[in-house]
């Protein structure tokens, strides 16, 4: 019988009016990688908050057994003392402090009330070596990319003598090769006897590293699968997650490609702060009515900069080039002008750039086109309410009313609110920047269906994505981007992951 390091038994957690967790069970064996999967809003994060003591003992029902002993954590400090360390999706690092200062933040090497810096830097360097990060421990964290910051977080966990490491969607912001490195690191820890819980949406990662899988759906644990005993397919996991089969992850669409909608020529963009750095070089592309065009490329290849620069010069003012819509050259130099021309840009970062979190669904839906629900500057709330209600139904935003504040919605529902906002601005061309990032499988399918509907309605869609299968499944045509240039163009029939990768690598 293998040693069980953690057992959560019959965990039930209620918030006023909502049962977030209902009799959830989770068993993690010593030295295994345990994947925790479920749709957004299924209760994974709540469960981890119960485990780490964010919701203290007494605020939930059920027992937590760690190494066979019942635990009663009253805060994160208690659980960390036991060696349970959680790394959240949003990294908790201070950008203006050095790596060493971050690694030992709250856990300083103190001698007689004074921090021993030489020792701190030396230990940090050792920890960085362990996680495979080749940086000086004096480097400021803000200078590092997301992938490296993630490694700093792990080094921070190691500094605390971790026994059970919990990673909440660690790879959602990472590039393919960084993700692979991170997963290798987990395997290495496993060899050293450190157990981990991996919360993720990416099924290929699970099949690569996980020893067992617990699926959570609607606040209840649905199943625990042992990967060593059974041969588990991705379809099995998806079925457990959503409670239904998704025969095809991408809804089918018959393309009816029409007239030329948008054409971009000789597009050059320089960095907003330094004219020496050219971010976009001579890009030319076009979108037709009813067409979904993808832009593939690695993170940092300039896709977001391209989109932002097109949309009302939202990426600095150092921009040259021509944009035509329906054959006419147009002025898109400010956001209102771009919207007027029929352009819409769904940002990559929903919370930072897309939504007013403190406001309701209704307010967010009409924000980009308040003129349409008002006359002479006065908003007609009856019309506004009806409009937002229509979009809530059409988009299947799961909430009792449009008066819900968007900060209380799950990622998928928030994305639907952002889409509602831009659809209500009645665009001809929509640029979607990572439209399904951090969204669960079921909601992704719905977003894809919405995109297909847009194309069927004769709109042009430009889709930027880091997930190649998604682009291959959705797009009629794919541009491949690398280091600010378009390095290739593929039709749906020709496109494959290998071809895209080789274009990037050989560029």
């Amino acid at each position: 019988m293998e040693n069980i390091i953690l057992e959560m038994r019959g965990i039930t957690k209620t918030f006023p009016g909502v049962k977030a967790l209902d009799n959830v069970n989770l068993k993690v064996k010593e030295g295994e990688i345990h994947a925790l999967v479920g749709e957004n809003g299924a209760g994974k994060s709540t469960l981890m908050k119960v485990l780490s003591g964010v919701y203290p003992h007494g605020s939930y029902q059920g027992d937590i057994l760690f190494n066979g002993e019942v635990m009663a954590f009253s805060g994160i400090a208690d659980s960390e003392k036991q060696g349970i360390i959680i790394i959240h999706q949003e990294l908790a690092l201070v950008p203006l402090l050095s790596i060493a200062e971050n690694v030992f933040l709250g856990n300083e090497n103190i001698e007689g009330g004074i921090i021993n810096w030489p020792h701190t830097f030396k230990r940090t360097q050792e920890l960085l070596k362990k996680v495979g990060l080749k940086e000086s421990s004096a480097t400021l964290v803000g200078r590092l990319g997301v992938g490296k910051q993630q490694l700093v977080e792990i080094a921070k966990a190691l500094a605390k003598d971790v026994k059970l490491l919990i990673l909440d969607e660690p790879t959602s912001a990472l590039q393919e090769n960084d993700s692979a490195k991170l997963l290798d690191l987990l395997l290495e820890f496993k060899a050293q006897g450190i157990s981990s819980i991996l919360i993720t949406h990416k099924l290929n990662e699970i099949s690569r590293v996980a020893d067992s899988i617990t699926v959570i759906r609607d606040g209840a644990s649905v199943s625990t699968l042992d990967c060593q005993v059974n041969d588990i397919s991705e379809a099995d996991i998806i079925r457990d997650m959503v409670g239904r089969d998704i025969a095809n992850r991408y809804p089918a669409r018959d393309s009816h490609i029409g007239e030329l909608l948008m054409q971009v020529r000789e597009w050059n963009v320089w960095h907003p702060d330094s004219l020496d750095r050219q971010m976009i070089h001579d890009i030319e592309f076009h979108v037709r009515a009813g067409e979904v065009v993808g832009i593939a490329g690695l993170m940092g290849s300039g896709r977001t900069e391209l989109a932002m620069s097109l949309f009302g010069k939202s990426y600095g003012k150092n921009i040259q080039g021509k944009v035509s819509l329906r054959g006419q050259e147009v002025d898109v130099s400010t956001v209102p002008k771009a919207i007027q021309c029929g352009l819409a840009y769904v940002t990559e970062d929903r919370k930072e750039l897309g939504l007013i979190l403190e406001e309701t669904i209704q307010t967010n839906t009409t924000l980009a086109n308040l003129e349409r629900v008002s006359s002479r500057g006065v908003i007609d709330e009856t019309i506004e309410r009806r409009v937002s209600e229509e979009y809530r139904k059409a988009m299947r935003i799961r909430t009792p009313s449009v008066f819900q504040k968007v900060m209380n919605l799950s990622g998928g529902n928030q994305q639907k609110v952002v889409l509602s906002k831009w659809l209500y601005s009645q665009p001809d061309v929509l640029i979607l920047d990572e439209p399904t990032r951090g969204i669960d499988v079921g909601a992704k399918f719905e977003i894809y269906s919405i995109i297909n509907q847009l194309a069927d309605d004769g709109k042009g869609v430009v889709m930027i994505s880091s997930e190649m299968p998604e682009l291959l499944g959705m797009c009629d045509r794919i541009y491949v981007m690398n280091e600010g240039r378009f390095v290739g163009e593929l039709d749906k029939a020709q496109a494959s992951q290998e071809k895209i990768m080789s274009m990037i690598v050989n560029a």
């Binding site: 409670g243 956001v335 919207i339 940002t347 939504l355 403190e358 003129e371 006065v378 799961r398």
Partner: protein, 401 residues
Amino acid sequence: MDTTKETISTEAQAAPTVGAYLKSHMRDYGMLIALIVIMGMFQFLTDGTLMRPANLTNLFLQNSYIIIMAIGMLLVIVAGHIDLSVGSVVGFIGALAAVMSVNYHLPTIVVVPVCLIAGLIIGGIQGYWIAYWRIPAFIVTLAGMLVFRGLTLTLLQGQSVGPFPDSFQLLSTGFIPDVFGVGRPNVTAIAIGVITSSIIVFLAARTRSRALKYGIQDEPFVFFIVKNALIAGAIIYLCYLLSTYRGLPNVLITMGVLIAIYTFVTNSTVIGRRIYALGGNEKAAKLSGINTERLTFLTFANMGMLAAAAGLIFAARLNTATPKAGFAFELDVIAAVFIGGASMSGGVGKIIGAVIGAFIMGVMNNGMSIMGIGIDWQQVIKGLVLLLAVIFDVYNKQKAR
């Protein structure tokens, strides 16, 4: 595709009981209840002096300029900024008015608009640096606070200037005459009270019936009746009390009209909505096609104009312009807005909240003065009330999560 999940979203919820409703809307009504409790307490402690018509009239006159500035400050704070210069602008505008009226004998009809435009320009200049140069409002208005205090001294050459002509004094000390000719009680005052409360009740009923039509009303009917009866009753009772003294002060009408206009602007207009969006998430607002710079600029220009209005009223009330006029007013105004439930980080706050916050401060000032509490302890108590109010607000917010 997935009909099972759709059923989770319940279309209409059962109307909650009055108690449950009040509990869930504690944040909305908390400060109003606090104001009533504080008024009741001082009414008792001052043996009924607080609500005497003469004192009540005084209370409105004393606090009108704070309330007028609190309206502007609410917009500034909702937009995510702060304005520290308003106290100095009050002093400066008072001085400008005094120089124009007393030294140059310009008529009031010229002085008032010129002063308001001067305030608009002052606010606009500060807003320009904040909006288009992205210089923090704290710094710009701190500079403004020093500059306009200094300019006040220069204009007045360090001395008090006054008295103002009678027409100018009417701004503050004038009363609405009784058109019915009774005089005492002033029938016009009572009539205005009745008309105002009828309009308020009518608008509330219309909103409610519209909301009912869409099935989005969760306010219990009993609660609606009691609430509106209390509001209407309070307004008529106040007007009656004032009518037994000298009637409604001009300032009260100015204040009431400004409150009504700005409540409408924040609730129902595109520009109001956009100010909330700007304060809630500036980047998202910008990417939604909102001209955030112009909006910031306008909020400060508006603040400058309202500060000028307050400066005129204050000078008219003292009947003289002094170099110290408006000193530390900004602190009372900012405190009023935060007591009224606005969020430090922007995006949240209501006009009526700021007005209630200003009244809480005003009633405490007035009540404590009547009781003979020294200015030292008054400050301590006011400070603690500000802290308590914000703690109460944060506590309610956390409970709601």
